[in-house]
């Protein structure tokens, strides 16, 4: 190891220690400085570590937490970037904190979620043994550009891994599945089979309506949500993998607190699996995670049990003891994810209060146009179960307008931009509360919730 790398590690550890002294996370900043001293620090530290990397638009954190639980239960020596710091800087910090001063990693395995735009820089240094690509949706156009641009970034990121590895792809996402055109790595598919859930309607706002190869409009045998499902190009024949290696063959039950599904496929005997989180998008995360755990050699029973007990926390259907009915916090970042949350709300039985916190800082995307692509009109189909909507965050007034035009009577819409006041006022709330913040709004809101109701700091 070079002297530069040694210096960088010392600096990183010092900055992290200092951050914690002043009660900050220090999840990304120390790594950022360390990389200035030694730009290839990650490649030094990641050498010899067996890493699973998870990337894609939605579901990275949840999939990583599921795999995390499986690794823990299997008794493996591993670490994970649980704080959500998933850029080069945050991943480097995490490796430094799990290495000796001389750059030798103390753990055998790592579970790393990686931002889909950062992957192109991270993967060639990280050299993962297994990559999971969850899906690709339009997301933060001002930051990522068109979705095909993100796809090309991931393609380059995979091409930058200089040894052949295994890559798990979402079979139902025509964009993600197209990564398998490459022949250097081995590609395996996971997905939800036809008939496992009633087919959804073809969305007018598909993020991938035209064939990625020949630009003809896709036909679909079935749709799970968004552009995911049994796609087929009538012209060039590009189609969803007929028999994914890992597939959900049946969604037996969807409850407000989770789902029961059957996971099978070419490589797996069908198993009944309880997933600890509700909503269909978490079924995708579950089958992706099972595939990853199996490919890393974790026994079936351990992998399956992990899905029923893992805790995601940090704004992914996270519960807080607020008010009489409790509060559930559901992070939203883009129309696809937001629509899934709005679908989930359709299944809530009781009258409830909805809180929407919309920010437009760099990490949220500075363009909030996407709230008009999300189907807030669904709030009008709740037939009286919506007690009121409270809008908050930097762009609260824009959210109020969105809700008004969705058809909700403005008399049921309140604005409260101070999280302290918001949470205090909800302490006496009788009804269950559902909170949907964007990323930076979640960071601030969660801090106040933790103060009032208890819970972990985000880096724990």
């Amino acid at each position: 190891m070079s002297f530069r790398a040694f210096l960088a590690i010392c600096l990183c550890r010092f900055l992290r220690g200092f951050s914690r002294l002043v009660h900050r996370g220090g999840t990304a900043m120390p790594g950022r400085w360390a990389l200035k001293v030694c730009p290839d620090l990650l490649s030094v530290l990641a050498r010899g570590v067996k890493t699973v990397a998870i990337t894609g638009t939605n579901g990275k954190t949840t999939t990583a937490r599921m795999i995390d639980q499986g690794f823990e239960d299997a008794g493996l020596s591993y670490f994970a970037n649980r704080s959500g710091a998933n850029l080069m800087s945050g991943i480097t910090t995490e490796f430094v904190m799990n290495s000796t001063l001389f750059g030798k990693c103390k753990k055998e395995y790592a579970v790393i979620e990686c931002d889909e735009a950062a992957a192109v820089g991270v993967f060639p240094q990280l050299m993962p043994e297994l990559v999971v690509v969850t899906n690709l949706f339009r997301d933060q156009l001002d930051r990522y550009g068109e979705v095909t641009h993100t796809l090309e970034n991931i393609r380059k990121a995979l091409a930058g891994i200089s040894q052949p590895i295994e890559v798990l792809l979402n079979a139902d996402c025509s964009l993600t599945a197209s990564l398998a055109e490459d022949t250097y790595h081995s590609y395996l598919f996971f997905g939800i089979d036809k008939g496992a859930v009633p087919s959804g309607k073809k969305s007018e706002l598909s993020d991938a309506s035209h064939c990625i190869r020949c630009k003809t409009e896709y036909e679909y045998d079935y749709i799970t949500y968004g552009h995911l499902g049994g796609f087929r190009c009538p012209k060039c024949g590009y189609h969803r993998a007929e028999k994914p290696e890992y597939a959900v063959t049946d969604v037996t039950e969807q409850r407000p607190d989770g789902s029961t599904v059957v996971i099978g496929g070419v490589l797996m005997e069908p198993c009944v699996v309880d997933v600890n989180l509700p909503a269909l998008y978490n079924v995708y995360n579950a089958v992706g995670a099972v595939a990853a755990m199996r490919e890393m050699g974790i026994p079936d029973e351990t992998a399956i049990a992990a899905l029923g007990k893992f805790k995601c926390g940090f704004g992914r259907m996270e519960d807080f003891a607020l008010g009489k009915g409790g509060a559930k916090v559901m992070l939203v970042k883009n129309p696809a994810g937001c629509n899934q949350v709005l679908d989930f709300l359709q299944n809530v039985k009781d009258r409830f209060v909805l809180v929407i916190c919309l920010n437009d800082r760099a990490a949220d995307g500075t363009d909030i146009s996407w709230i008009w692509d999300a189907d807030f009109e669904k709030l009008c189909e709740l037939s009286g179960r919506l007690e009121k909507v409270i809008v908050s965050g930097d762009r609260a007034p824009d959210m109020a307008v969105r809700i008004k035009y969705a058809g909700v009577d403005p008399r049921f819409v309140e604005t409260e931009r101070d999280y302290e006041k918001l949470v205090s006022s909800l302490e006496s709330e009788e009804r269950p509360i559902y909170m949907i913040p964007t990323y930076t709004a979640l960071l601030e809101l969660r801090e106040v919730l933790v103060k009032h109701c208890g819970g972990d700091e985000f880096w724990v």
């Binding site: 001002d142 309506s209 035209h210 630009k215 500075t366 363009d367 146009s369 996407w370 692509d373």
Partner: protein, 245 residues
Amino acid sequence: MELKICHLYPDVLNLYGDGGNIRCLTQRLKWRGIGAEVTKIPIGSKESLKGFDLIFIGGGQDFEQEVLLEDLHRGRDKELVAAVQDGMTILAICGGYQMLGAYYETHDGKRCDFVGALDLYTVGAKTRMIGNYMYKVDEKLGGFTVVGFENHSGKTRLGPGVEPLGKVLAGFGNNGEDGMEGAHFQNVFGTYSHGPLLPKNPDFADLLIKTALERKYGRAELAPLDDTLERAAHDEMCRRLEKHP
């Protein structure tokens, strides 16, 4: 009274929140007791544009541009030129705005012929112009302030045959150089303000509704609506942009 609204190419020109404009027009018509019928005309449709009162064209991704151009040059382009000459009320945003011009030239010199309904053209630049922005619409059109979000690499230049829609107060506008934003010709309004432009610019929404109603019925007085929430969103962005232009 009723307006027949056409959403042109919603299958490919739907980049970010463009549907919000249709939603806004139909709600504001409904709240005033005026009928609204929205027809979507996707790629490959043979339906004529005649008979509509208002056409909306959104912005799109580069990925589907070829598919769009093919369809356009199968006759839709001539139909759009005729509609513009005929005084049809049209709102065209970002990619849709560029599309009504003569052509688009990429930064490495490749040229795509567009509709040619408006005397303007666009040349691609290497850097994108991205961010919240604000402009003041020409006095003849009401002189109101519009806030929106722009995200384009194309720089649009206007010919003598069209007027700019307004003057940039903060941000880039047509090209980031001449201080002009959008284009106005007959009853066509072109702007870079992508996505949900109308909901928080109710003056603009009502200008379009009034223009379309007057063309159809001779005259139109719009009943006032309670725009408290809309103006709050509009004014807050104005204040932010005044502070940090």
